[in-house]
C-alpha cells in the first residue's frame, strides 16, 4: 500500500489583530500541530464537534488556507505553497452545502467545464465527452447540463458537487459533511454513490462529519479531533466500540441509539476552553471524569494504546 496523503506537524494559527496601532497580538490556534497519513484507496473519517478545527484542516489540505507550519505531501510530493491550481489536480474538496457551492448564475455545464478547462486544458470535444462520462457515473441525466443550480433538489445538487470534484480527476477527495444537509433517505443514495465511485476511480477519501454513525459506516480508519488536536486514531470498527480516550467515549455514549435508555453521559462541564486563552495541559481535562493533576499541567502526546489504536491521554481507558 502506498501513502496517498501525508501530513506532518500541520498547524494553523489565526492572527487576531490588536487594532490599528497595536499590530498583531495573540493568535487562535485552530489546528494544533498534527501528523497523520492516509493510504491509497483508504477512507479516513474525521470526527469532532463544532470548533474542533475539522474545517480548517480540510481547507489547508486543499490549499484554500496556507498552513502556519508543517507540510502536506501527496503521493510523496510536497505541496508547500497554497496554490489551489497545484492542489486542484491532486486533491479536491466537496462542500457541505450543495446549493451554495454552485454559482447561482451559471449553468451546470459552465460549472462542470471550469476544472476541465483550467486544470487540464481540454478542448470542447474532449470536455463534452468527459462530462458525459462523469454524469453517467454519478447517475445524472445529460439534460441537467443546461439548467441552473436552483432547479435541483439537495441530493441532486450534491451529486453535481461530486461530479465537479471528479472532473478535476484528483487522487484524493475531501468530503466535508457531504450528507449533513440531506434527508436520511437521500443521504444513503449519496453515500453509496461515493463508495462506488471510489472503487471505479481508485480514489482516496477524507470523510469529515459530526455524525458518528455515518462516519463509522463509510470509513476504514477514524481520527477524532478535539479543540484543534488529534485525541484518538484507530480502526473504524474499534474507535467507537472500544474507545481509549475519554472524549471518544463521551461522543460514543452521547449518540442517540435505538434501545439505549436516555441519560446524559458523565461529564463535568460542556463548555469548550476559551480558544484565545487555552488552559495548559489537556484541553479536555475540564470535562473529563478521569482528569488528574498531570492532565492540567502538560499536554499528552499521541501514543499507541494497543493494536492500531493511538490516543493522546495520560489515563487511557482499559479494555
Amino acid at each position: 500500500m502506498s501513502v496517498a496523503l501525508k501530513v506532518e506537524n500541520l498547524a494553523k494559527t489565526f492572527a487576531i489583530s490588536g487594532g490599528l496601532f497595536r499590530g498583531q497580538k495573540a493568535g487562535v490556534r485552530a489546528v494544533r500541530p498534527m501528523s497523520f497519513g492516509v493510504e491509497t484507496g483508504e477512507t479516513l473519517g474525521i470526527v469532532g464537534e463544532s470548533g474542533c478545527g475539522k474545517s480548517t484542516l480540510a481547507r489547508m489540505l486543499v490549499g484554500l488556507l496556507e498552513p502556519t507550519e508543517g507540510t502536506i505531501e501527496i503521493e510523496g510530493k510536497a505541496l508547500d505553497n497554497a496554490d489551489p491550481k497545484a492542489f486542484g489536480r491532486l486533491i479536491q474538496y466537496m462542500f457541505q452545502d450543495p446549493v451554495s457551492s454552485l454559482n447561482p448564475r451559471k449553468t451546470i455545464k459552465q460549472i462542470m467545464e471550469a476544472p476541465l478547462k483550467r486544470l487540464h486544458g481540454m478542448n470542447r470535444a474532449e470536455r463534452d465527452k468527459r462530462i458525459a462520462e462523469i454524469f453517467d457515473s454519478v447517475n445524472l441525466r445529460s439534460e441537467f447540463l443546461e439548467r441552473y443550480p436552483h432547479e435541483f433538489s439537495g441530493g441532486q445538487a450534491q451529486r453535481i458537487g461530486v461530479a465537479r470534484a471528479l472532473a478535476a480527476a484528483p487522487r484524493i477527495i475531501i468530503l466535508d459533511e457531504p450528507v449533513s444537509a440531506l434527508d436520511v433517505s437521500v443521504q444513503a443514495q449519496v453515500l453509496n454513490l461515493l463508495r462506488r465511485l471510489k472503487d471505479e476511480f481508485n480514489l482516496t477519501y477524507l470523510f469529515i462529519s459530526h455524525d458518528l454513525a455515518v462516519v463509522e459506516a463509510v470509513s476504514d480508519r477514524i481520527v477524532v479531533l478535539y479543540f484543534g488536536a488529534v485525541v484518538e486514531i484507530g480502526k473504524a470498527e474499534e474507535v467507537f466500540s472500544n474507545p481509549k480516550h475519554p472524549y471518544t467515549k463521551l461522543l460514543a455514549d452521547s449518540a442517540p441509539v435505538v434501545g439505549r435508555p436516555l441519560k446524559a453521559p458523565e461529564q463535568k462541564d460542556s463548555e469548550l476552553p476559551d480558544p484565545l486563552n487555552p488552559p495548559p495541559g489537556c484541553a479536555f481535562a475540564t470535562r473529563c471524569p478521569r482528569a488528574t493533576d498531570i492532565c492540567r499541567e502538560s499536554d499528552p502526546a499521541l501514543e499507541r494504546v494497543g493494536g492500531d489504536q493511538f490516543a493522546a491521554c495520560f489515563h487511557p481507558l482499559e479494555d
Partner: protein, 621 residues
C-alpha cells in the same frame, strides 16, 4: 416579463416610467423637430412671455427661443447625467469588487482612500476638481462622476464581501480559476443587479449635480444650453421674468422625480426579498378558511388536532403542506412526529397556535382543540394569551429565536410579564430559577449574558427556559437538537425528559432522527407528503414497522456500532406537495406498490397501531 409586471404594480414607478419615457422620446427626436436654432440671439425679442407668436415658451434675455433651448439643454443634461453615472458606476464597482474580493490589507487601503474622498463635502470636491481642470461640460462630467465613485465602491464592496465568503467562490478556485476570472465570471454576474439598481437611483442626483455646476458657470459654456446654465443665466431676472427660470426648473423637477420614482420601483422589483413576499407583513394569526364542517370534539388528549389541513397558496399553485392530520397528546406524554424535509411536520406544529405566516398559509379544514376549545376559532386576543402560556414552542435555532440585543434575563422576564403581573423583584428571581431549572451553571450571573456570549447548547437551554417560563401544559419542540453537537444533544434530551416527568408536561417532539425518538418518545407518528402514514407506540413502530416507508426509512439510518457497510437507500425523491400523486404519495418509490395504490385515498386504519397502506409489512392491531 415578471420583472415588468412587478415594476408596474407600483403605480408611482409606472408614472415615473411614463414621464421619463416621454422626455427621452422628445429629446431623441429633437433634431428632427421644426425648432429654431437654440443659439441664435435676437435682442429685440428679449423676454417674450410663453405662448407668444413663434415662441411657444417665450424667449430668454438674449431673445433665444426657450423651447428650443429647453429641449437641447435637456439632451445635454441627460447625456451628462447618464454618462457620469456609467463612469462612476464602472469605476466605483470595480474598486468595490476588488476590495471586497481580496479583503485584508487591500480592502483596508482602498476603503480608507474612499473614506478620505467621502470626508470632503460633495459639492466642494466637485468644485475643486473643476477648478483644477478648468470649467467646461466635460470636466463637470468628470467631477460629478468622481464624487460619486465612493458611493458605488462602498455599496458594491458590501455585496461582494458577503459573496466572496460563499462556497462557490472556493469551488471556483479549486477548479483552477485565477483571480481575474473569478471576479469576472463568478462575482460580477452576481453583483450586476445591485450595480444596476444603484445606477438607476443615482442618475437623478448626477443630473442635479451637473446642473448645480453649470448654474455656477463651471459646466456648459455659453452659448451651449444645459438645464443648469439656463437657470444660472435666468437668475438675475427671477422677479421680473420668472418664466425663464421656472421652465428649466420644471424640467429638472420632472426628470429627477421620474428617475427617482422609477429607480425606487426597479430596486423594489429586483429585491429578492420583496419578490418572495417577505416584506409583506404576515398577519398575527394564520388565516382559517374551513371548507367542510368543523369536526366535533372527540375528547382525546389535552391538545387534540382533528383532521387538520394547512395549505400555502402561492401564485396559482396550492401547496398542500398538511393533509387531514389528526394527533393528540396527553399530560406527561411525549409524542414524536418524524418525517423528512417537506413532510409537513413543522407546518403541523406551527398550525396549532396559528403561527403559519398568512398569506400565503391557510388552514382549510379541521380543528385544534386545547382542553376542548377550538384554537382555530378563537379571537386573536384569546389565542395570544394562550401562546407561550399554555402551549409553548422550542425552535431549532436558538440563535435566531433569541433577540441578539437584549440580555437573556430580560427576555425571560418579558416572557413572564407578558402573561402575568409579577413584581420586578420576584421577576428577577423567577428568571434565575428558570435558568437553574434547565441546569445552567451560575444562573445568577448568566442572566446578564447576551445570546452571543453563550454556546449553542446554553442558548438552547435558554430557549427551553423561555418555553417553561409560564408553566405551560404543552411544549411543541421543533427539531430542538438538530443544530447542536451530539454531546450537547444528549444533555438537552435528558433535560427535556426530566422536565416532562417532573412537571407532567405534554411534549410534541418533531424530528427526523429515529434514535432520538426511540429514547424520548412514548408514541410516534410518521409523516410523508403531508399525511400521517403510520402511528403507534414507539416500540410498535420501531420493532414492527407496518408502512413500507417507515421500514425502509429506518433501514437508511446508519446505527453506531455496526462497522463499515453498505447502507440501504430509498430510490427517488420525496414528493412535492403542490403536485401530489393520487393515492399513496409513497407509491412511486415503493417496491410493493400496485395499481390500487395509485388510485383514490387510502385510509389510516388500525387501532393503537394504525397504518395508511394497502399492503402493510405487518398486520396492525
Amino acid at each position: 416579463m415578471k420583472f415588468l409586471k412587478l415594476l408596474f404594480r407600483n403605480r408611482l414607478a409606472a408614472l415615473g416610467a411614463v414621464v421619463l419615457g416621454l422626455i427621452l422620446l422628445i429629446v431623441l427626436i429633437t433634431p428632427l423637430l421644426p425648432l429654431q436654432d437654440p443659439d441664435v440671439t435676437n435682442t429685440s425679442n428679449r423676454f417674450l412671455t410663453p405662448f407668444s407668436e413663434g415662441h411657444l415658451l417665450g424667449t430668454d434675455h438674449l431673445g433665444r427661443d426657450l423651447l428650443s433651448r429647453l429641449l437641447y439643454g435637456t439632451r445635454v443634461s441627460l447625456a451628462v447625467g447618464i454618462f457620469a453615472a456609467l463612469i462612476a458606476g464602472t469605476i466605483g464597482s470595480a474598486i468595490g469588487i476588488v476590495a471586497g474580493y481580496f479583503g485584508g490589507r487591500t480592502d483596508n487601503v482602498i476603503m480608507r482612500g474612499v473614506d478620505m474622498l467621502m470626508a470632503f463635502p460633495y459639492i466642494l470636491l466637485a468644485l475643486a476638481i473643476v477648478a483644477a481642470l478648468g470649467p467646461g461640460l466635460f470636466n463637470a462630467l468628470i467631477a460629478v462622476a468622481a464624487v460619486n465613485i465612493p458611493f458605488f465602491a462602498r455599496n458594491i464592496r458590501g455585496v461582494t464581501v458577503s459573496l466572496a465568503g460563499r462556497e462557490f467562490i472556493d469551488a471556483a478556485r479549486l477548479s483552477g480559476m485565477g483571480h481575474t476570472r473569478i471576479i469576472l465570471t463568478e462575482l460580477l454576474p452576481n453583483v450586476l443587479s445591485t450595480i444596476v439598481i444603484a445606477m438607476s437611483t443615482t442618475v437623478g442626483w448626477m443630473i442635479l449635480e451637473t446642473a448645480g455646476l453649470s448654474f455656477l458657470g463651471l459646466g456648459s459654456q455659453p452659448p451651449q444650453a444645459d438645464l443648469g446654465s439656463m437657470l444660472g443665466e435666468a437668475r438675475a431676472q427671477l422677479i421680473t421674468d420668472p418664466h425663464t427660470s421656472i421652465i428649466p426648473g420644471i424640467m429638472i423637477f420632472l426628470i429627477v422625480m421620474s428617475i427617482n420614482l422609477l429607480g425606487d420601483g426597479v430596486r423594489d422589483a429586483l429585491d429578492p426579498r420583496l419578490r418572495s413576499g417577505a416584506l409583506t407583513r404576515p398577519r398575527a394569526q394564520t388565516m382559517v378558511e374551513r371548507e367542510g364542517p368543523v369536526p366535533a370534539d372527540d375528547g382525546k388528549g389535552l391538545l387534540n388536532l382533528q383532521a387538520l389541513s394547512t395549505q400555502f397558496h402561492v401564485g396559482g399553485r396550492v401547496y398542500k403542506a398538511v393533509n387531514d392530520v389528526s394527533l393528540h397528546v396527553k399530560p406527561g406524554e411525549c409524542l414524536g412526529v418524524i418525517g423528512e424535509s417537506g413532510s409537513g411536520k413543522s407546518v403541523t406544529a406551527l398550525s396549532v397556535m396559528g403561527l403559519v405566516p398568512s398569506p400565503p398559509g391557510v388552514v382549510t379544514s379541521g380543528a385544534v382543540r386545547y382542553e376542548g376549545d377550538d384554537l382555530l376559532d378563537m379571537p386573536f386576543e384569546k389565542l395570544r394569551q394562550r401562546r407561550g402560556d399554555k402551549v409553548a414552542y422550542i425552535f431549532q435555532d436558538p440563535l435566531s429565536t433569541l433577540h441578539p440585543l437584549y440580555r437573556v434575563g430580560d427576555q425571560l422576564k418579558e416572557a413572564i410579564s407578558v402573561h402575568h403581573k409579577v413584581p420586578d423583584k420576584e421577576l428577577e428571581q423567577r428568571a434565575i430559577d428558570l435558568l437553574r431549572s434547565v441546569r445552567i451553571p451560575n444562573a445568577a450571573d448568566r442572566i446578564r449574558n447576551y445570546p452571543h456570549e453563550m454556546s449553542g447548547g446554553m442558548r438552547q437551554r435558554v430557549g427551553i427556559a423561555m418555553a417553561l417560563a409560564n408553566d405551560p401544559d404543552v411544549i411543541i419542540a421543533d427539531e430542538p437538537t438538530t443544530a447542536l453537537d451530539v454531546t450537547v444533544q444528549a444533555q438537552i434530551l435528558s433535560l427535556l425528559d426530566d422536565l416532562r416527568r417532573e412537571h407532567g408536561l405534554a411534549i410534541i417532539f418533531i424530528t427526523h432522527d429515529f434514535g432520538v425518538v426511540a429514547q424520548l418518545c412514548d408514541r410516534v407518528a410518521v409523516m410523508y407528503g403531508g399525511k400521517i402514514v403510520e402511528e403507534g407506540t414507539t416500540t410498535d413502530i420501531l420493532d414492527h414497522p407496518a408502512h413500507p416507508y417507515t421500514k425502509r426509512l429506518m433501514a437508511c439510518v446508519p446505527e453506531l456500532g455496526a462497522g463499515k457497510r453498505e447502507l440501504a437507500a430509498i430510490p427517488g425523491l420525496p414528493p412535492i406537495v403542490s403536485d401530489l400523486p393520487p393515492g399513496c404519495a409513497f407509491a412511486p418509490r415503493c417496491d410493493k406498490a400496485t395499481e390500487a395504490c395509485r388510485q383514490g385515498e387510502i385510509a389510516l386504519e388500525g387501532g393503537r397501531h394504525a397504518v395508511r397502506c394497502i399492503h402493510p409489512e405487518e398486520e396492525v392491531a
